[in-house]
Amino acid sequence: MAENETTSDEDLMESYRDGDAAAFDVLYGRHKGGVFRYLQRQCGNRGIAEELFQDVWMNLIRARANYTVQARFTTFLYKLAHNRLIDHYRAQSGNVPASFDEEGGPALDDVVAPRSADPAVGADVRQQSRRILQLIEGLPAAQREAFLLQQESDMSVEEIAQATGVNRETAKSRLRYALAKLREGMQELA
């Protein structure tokens, strides 16, 4: 099968399941960066991220035989990554971060609203990027995960909920808090 840019992730994964190794190459090329960044920014350590990254892809390779299209491939892939990350949390500190157990957070009315002005005004883009990475690192793990999943894989709220194993409202709440905090942090930078 000749894989190209228009072939969907699901078709590629089915091709790989049926023995097409080249399909996996295409899939890997599409998602390796997002998964790696998701893992690195969640665990905060590149070495650990590389280890987790390899485990995630190896799990995908092993699970190829039972793969059936039930959702978007990215949902399936990031669910593997999320599970591996939870395992890492448990192995490291014995339990997952508390934010994963919270249904939500404070009322959204208390969250600082984003400024209406252009965030790039008054600061260069590189500085803003470093700032946002600092802000992301400071987010609770669950909110950070929701934000990273949205940014790296273009997941909807429902898909984020599905990948992280929570209901839609919880995923939506986490995402909103994450965005609000990031905007607040960017306002301070400005």
């Binding site: 097409d20 190794a21 965005l179």
Partner: protein
């Protein structure tokens, strides 16, 4: 508050732009190569998806398992079918239980008989005869038992003749057996009478009788009878004596023949008893009509022979019936026969508890 924050997608284009402007970290190329190599190895090592073997064989294995189970069940049911449909298979009744039941019903013959019939199939648990070994070919159970080894005789003697037959057939066969028993009784009585008459006429016919009995058995026994399987050389002598009785005894002998005509051809016996002189009997054995096995008692031994015949026949009875027979003998004053029969009974059933009424007979 910004509209973008409140929409359902949760996207904030401004933050997305800033995030994507950040340096894009990527896995090292070595890690990429390792993962891609692992993916290729996995495909080449297992061209078919894992679990293919089990999934593809699931249906055949299930069918094979169901078939195996079915065959096993059918085989098992066939093996157990006779035990299910037939009478319950239990061990032969112990002497104790038999004693208890017989004692309980010993005073009431009818009740004891019904109890015995009730117990027969259950206690013996013998299967109904598949062939006509004991009934279908007209062979009595006692005759069948006689042809068996001694070890089996007791069991066969204890076994009712139609223990597992249907109730109607069993009743009919029992009636037939009773008829034959009555016939035997009559024949035995006739033989006794004939023997008595011979003794009474012994002096008158002594020369002829002695001549008849002085013949060696091989010479006395007619060749036809021997060829017909008559193993009793004295049997023709009995007929000879009966036939050689004087005229006043001919009537009695005739009645003997009349009584026996149910068993043997009556005209021939009458012809012999009426026409053949005693002299000719010993000289011309070929004129003898073959006497049936039932008419085998010889004249000199006529007195004990009926008793022995009764003993043999009693041995065919069930223990309770046998004891009733002994009781009847005792009531009729035939104490010797009763004692002999009781002795035989004790030999056959040493553990069988005797009723109190027969205890005096058992004493030496």
């Amino acid at each position: 508050m910004s509209e973008s924050v409140h929409n359902d997608t949760g996207h904030d284009p401004e933050l997305t732009a800033i995030y994507r402007a950040a340096p894009a970290d990527a896995p090292p190329p070595a890690l990429d190569a390792a993962i891609l190599a692992a993916a290729r190895r996995e495909v080449s090592a297992r061209p078919r998806p894992a679990g293919f073997t089990f999934r593809s064989l699931r249906a055949p294995l299930s069918i094979a398992a169901v078939l195996l189970l079915s065959v096993s069940l059918v085989t098992l049911m066939r093996e157990e079918a006779p035990e299910i449909t037939g009478p319950p298979r239990v061990d032969l009744p112990s002497a104790e239980s038999s004693k208890l039941k017989v004692d309980r019903h010993a005073n009431d013959p009818a009740e004891s008989a019904s109890v015995r019939e009730e117990q027969r199939p259950k206690n013996l648990g013998l299967k109904p005869p598949q062939s006509a070994t004991a009934s279908g070919l007209g062979v009595r159970g006692s005759q069948f038992a006689e042809s068996m080894p001694r070890s089996n005789k007791d069991a066969v003697a204890a076994k009712p003749e139609a223990d597992a037959a249907p109730p109607m057939a069993f009743a009919k066969r029992r009636e037939a057996a009773q008829d034959v028993d009555e016939l035997r009784d009559k024949k035995a009585a006739v033989s006794k009478q004939a023997a008595a008459s011979v003794e009474r006429q012994g002096n008158a016919a002594e020369p002829e009788t002695r001549r008849a009995f002085s013949q060696p058995p091989a010479a006395a026994a007619p060749s036809k009878e021997m060829a017909a399987g008559m193993a009793q050389p004295a049997a023709p002598a009995v007929s000879a004596v009966v036939a050689g009785a004087p005229a006043e005894n001919k009537t009695q002998a005739g009645s003997t023949g009349a009584a026996a005509d149910r068993v043997e051809p009556a005209p021939r016996l009458r012809a012999q008893s009426g026409d053949a002189p005693v002299r000719q009997l010993g000289e011309a054995p070929s004129t003898f009509a073959p006497s049936p096995p039932q008419a085998k008692p010889s004249a000199p031994a006529a007195a004990p022979v009926p008793a022995l015949g009764k003993l043999e026949r009693s041995a065919d009875l069930a223990p309770g019936k046998w004891l009733e027979h002994i009781e009847e003998l005792r009531k009729q004053g035939r104490l010797d026969e009763a004692r002999v029969s009781l002795l035989e009974f004790r030999k056959r059933y040493p553990d069988y508890r005797l009723p109190y009424s027969l205890s005096d007979l058992a004493k030496p």
